[in-house]
Symmetry: D3
Subunit: 236 residues, 6 copies
């Protein structure tokens, strides 16, 4: 049977809720990811992780929120960045409705990890968690993926659109990954709130995407799933 | 080539924007739709309409927003209703980012038509339209579909989850439509802001879903597309 | 004895509240209504309807709110349009204070019917109704009046400042209605969020005001009152 | 010809604006005023002052806003108190619309003088004044009236619902003033943000309303008008 | 032992709270105070008053909030004015946290007395006081100091940066007071919301600072402390 | 001459601004820091760093903001946590006023580093930086200090209230550091939004404070200053 929340009728959903499922909310972004990756990369990865996790822990997957806070990449075409407040409000309201629906276990997986973006999500989770008896996990899947930096041939400085992300996209959306692969870095001066970020990040990525492989991506994705299954089981 | 906004790289998107495309934002809802239809019915229909329209008018389709204002159906399991302000803010910010990206033609298609929901969307559109040179169309596809009520054997009182909606879903997502079909009506007293709407709408739908057919649904969907292509061409 | 809320002393009001009255909140607008009707037409009609209704159902009438959401007519001199949020907030706070005052029956009558305006009012009512045991009715009196379109010689396309509205104003404020009567229509393309509405509504009205008569207005007003007395008695 | 803004058609208003009128916005309150005075006393006085002033300085009078910030009197039946933010927002939006309508001279007269209430109004005025070329005067008419305390037999401690206010109401709304007149005082300890104000203000008024006369009220009202005509002419 | 809230460890604070202390929140401003006084004059005075009061009534002093609403002096260099909403929100949240910490007696002392500024503070206090069992006093110390105007050789028109304020600063921060002393007045027309306040207050002060002495300042400060100790003891 | 912004008169400040100074805004927190450190530790450190930096780069130091977002430590006595929105708003407004004062170089130093707290600050900085020509650096001084973890005998897991922080406080506020030193760790399960954080952080600190020395603290503080002087000079 489907594990997609929005594919269920209200009656079936009601029955599933009685079974105390873990409900997953995937959050992505619509933002520049280098010339080789699609704008929706973060959304695709978050959705895929949630789908894989839901199969492991009696889960249901909500429709994704594909818009996030992406201020630093707004100079590039295609980036659609919403405000901290907008993201915080919509996440808080969705979670609040889940609680009203008597859902007791929630996992929010963001494919995008910018500090302001994650803070909007986590603050919403904290507020809901403080006010009710729900158990919430919230994370960016890159919090797990980046534990692999400096290992398995992955450079320590790998980041946005780099070797890890390109590999993960090759594993799940190969047709959307171009062969024309850039390599770049973030040269923003330390702690500087730069007005025009693009000048400090000419290729729009951090790392070397030429080294990416689907096999590595698959391995990373499995690693993330295993780690998160553990994290979920630890508290839910 | 794909017409999905989030499947393009930033460079390809930049090139497409130079060609002055119509950008479609599909907005749905996650709400009760009778025991025969999935919670995401409004989202699925909005996305499908946008996809069909984009093929006709040089369009690009943004990732959908699957959460809307569904206050009147909150008594039923599975309804996730966000506030007017949350919806209004996120739509306004997405449109504002499109304008910043030099997109000049925007069509917002909502599959959900509740007054407060549509007002949140239209106010956001008005604000953006007043402040820039963009051309915006915003509608609920049921504004078009309901023109057929009282015609072609469709009852005048058909509504939420009824003959038209069930037919449309049979045409595009047949596997998600159950054969166990209800028939219902809205018995809310005139103008009453009822505290518990469910008691006035026992089956959660308005109309007779047993009369629905995939053929009618296909015909209605074609009608909507033709009407909207005309509406778009009239101003864009 | 007076039925005007603000003409009572606090002690008299306290005594009246113990008698479980229906409290009416009239909401109008300050907006263009054609060259023959005053800017306050919607306020005058809402107040008059509330006064008439209060006499029939043990009512008290609050001071009117004369400012509404009138975005589409802002191009014309004299239109004062407040935001959805401003209207929503003030209505919600007034209703909340009524509830705090132990008032249990509230009727909000708006003389203005724009979608965003009504949505601001209805959302406020829903929020208060969800949070307490009060019974609330909210409507635009034109929701009733327009049931007469296509009947009694009234054209189906009659609308803002047209035959019905001009007749109603002739019945209650004849001195404020000019003999110089326009006839107009709304030519805004379907679903278009037009930047400059005035160009699509040159006379600022919808319908033929030359056909209006005080007698018809009186008859319509009586019809509205009878329908609303029924609606109020049905739930209060 | 009428000086009521909302009684004019849009065309007549447009013509009047070309003549550079002073536009008056009366703001009142719906709050306890002792057992002898009506809840709307502040609104009635503000409207009457605006009407009188408009005759002297080529003025137009907007429909009043009858709801203010009245937190300290919420313990008494009939008080309807809105928030600082609600009042501030609606006043700012109304003024902003006046400026958009090319009105250049605005006078806001509040009949209610509570600090939070006046601050909401003045902050709105400051914001509009800072952003455009309009000239704005904002005041509570009691700022003028209380200059007479300690003179003409008026006690220095006269205040809310006392000798001055009762006299002013006798002058303009004699039928709404009861003969049963209280005398009271504010015994709230200095600087204390009391939770239950009513216990410190048993009669709900400050001063001795038995000494009030219509003649004194008329004299005070004339004094206020003369002082304000001077103040208006000094800057407009 | 220290009475500074932020110098205590959490354990010591917890122990002190059990002893039911009066917690003082000093609020200042960063704004023009004449060429002879520092921008932080209001903060310094508020902090000093709180320190003196805390010694008398078993008090703890919170870190000051050094930013207030100073709209009228924004034309002068160095004025940093925050909005009513910002000040109101931060004060409300700080007080709410004190209540959550089971603190039951709070005194808010502002060194700045502008109406909008004090209203932001008082509204926050009222909201917290209405919602819990805490006892709150809120004031501007100039509410007490100005009782001395017209006495002891102090002119009735003394105000911002004048004889009283300069004397008080000489008493507590003599090194920050310049010998180059201005004398000025506020010539803003009555009730006028002036766009450029500086033109009406050329020296930026109200009163004659040349007459100030440290001895007078010390005497005034003692007077304020005595009066406030009485006010605190009356309700706490 | 003083480098404290609030100790200058408006005239002196005006003269200093003409000299293009770097203006420092120290932001702290009032929160639990273990039983050995004062609640204001973050504020004290931020202020001290700003003072030291200002001496090196022609700086002026604003009064500190001593309240931050400290949600995770609210279970401990003495923590005063404001919301993301409150902090974001006040920082944005202060920066906006600095820009209005023609200040062109701003450094915001937070002594507290929680993600939501830093995100509130950085979002405010980004918004101001995007809208004007100012150059802004924003950081938590622990972003620099923690580069030393795993070096010089400092454990890799050192954190809140641990060896580094205790050492730094010993260097600058020895009298406020108790000899009774705890050692603790954060046992919150990965990614869990725990409702009661205290249970996962029994001593309220992360690391071993017994190993702290004033000498190490001094060395770390010097390191931070040197690194930040470089960072400032790189862009200002």
């Amino acid at each position: 049977m489907t594990q997609m929340f929005d594919e269920l009728s209200f009656e079936t959903l009601g029955a599933r809720v009685a079974d105390d499922p873990v409900v997953f909310l995937p959050i992505g972004a619509t933002e520049e990811h280098g010339r080789h990756l699609p704008l929706g990369s973060d959304t695709f990865q978050a959705v895929d992780m949630c789908n894989a996790l839901a199969q492991r822990v009696n889960g249901l997957v909500l429709p994704p929120l594909a818009y996030g806070v992406s201020t630093s990449l707004r100079d590039f075409p295609g980036t659609i960045s919403i405000s901290h407040q907008a993201l915080n409000t919509i996440v808080r309201e969705i979670l609040s409705e889940l609680v009203r629906n008597e859902i007791r276990k929630i996992v929010v997986v963001s494919g995008h990890g910018a500090q302001v973006h994650m803070s909007a999500i986590k603050s919403a989770c904290e507020e809901i968690s403080d006010a009710s008896d729900v158990r919430i996990i919230a994370l960016c899947d890159y919090d797990v993926a980046y534990r692999l930096r400096g290992k398995q041939g992955i450079p320590a400085a790998d980041g946005h659109g780099g070797m890890i992300e390109t590999s993960r996209m090759l594993a799940v959306r190969p047709l959307l990954v171009s062969d024309d692969r850039p390599s770049g870095q973030d040269t923003t001066p330390d702690f500087f709130i730069a007005r025009h970020r693009k000048r400090y990040m000419t290729e729009g990525i951090i790392g070397d995407s030429t080294k990416a492989t689907a096999a590595l991506g698959q391995q990373i994705n499995l690693y993330i799933v295993e780690e998160l299954v553990k994290a979920i089981r630890a508290v839910m």
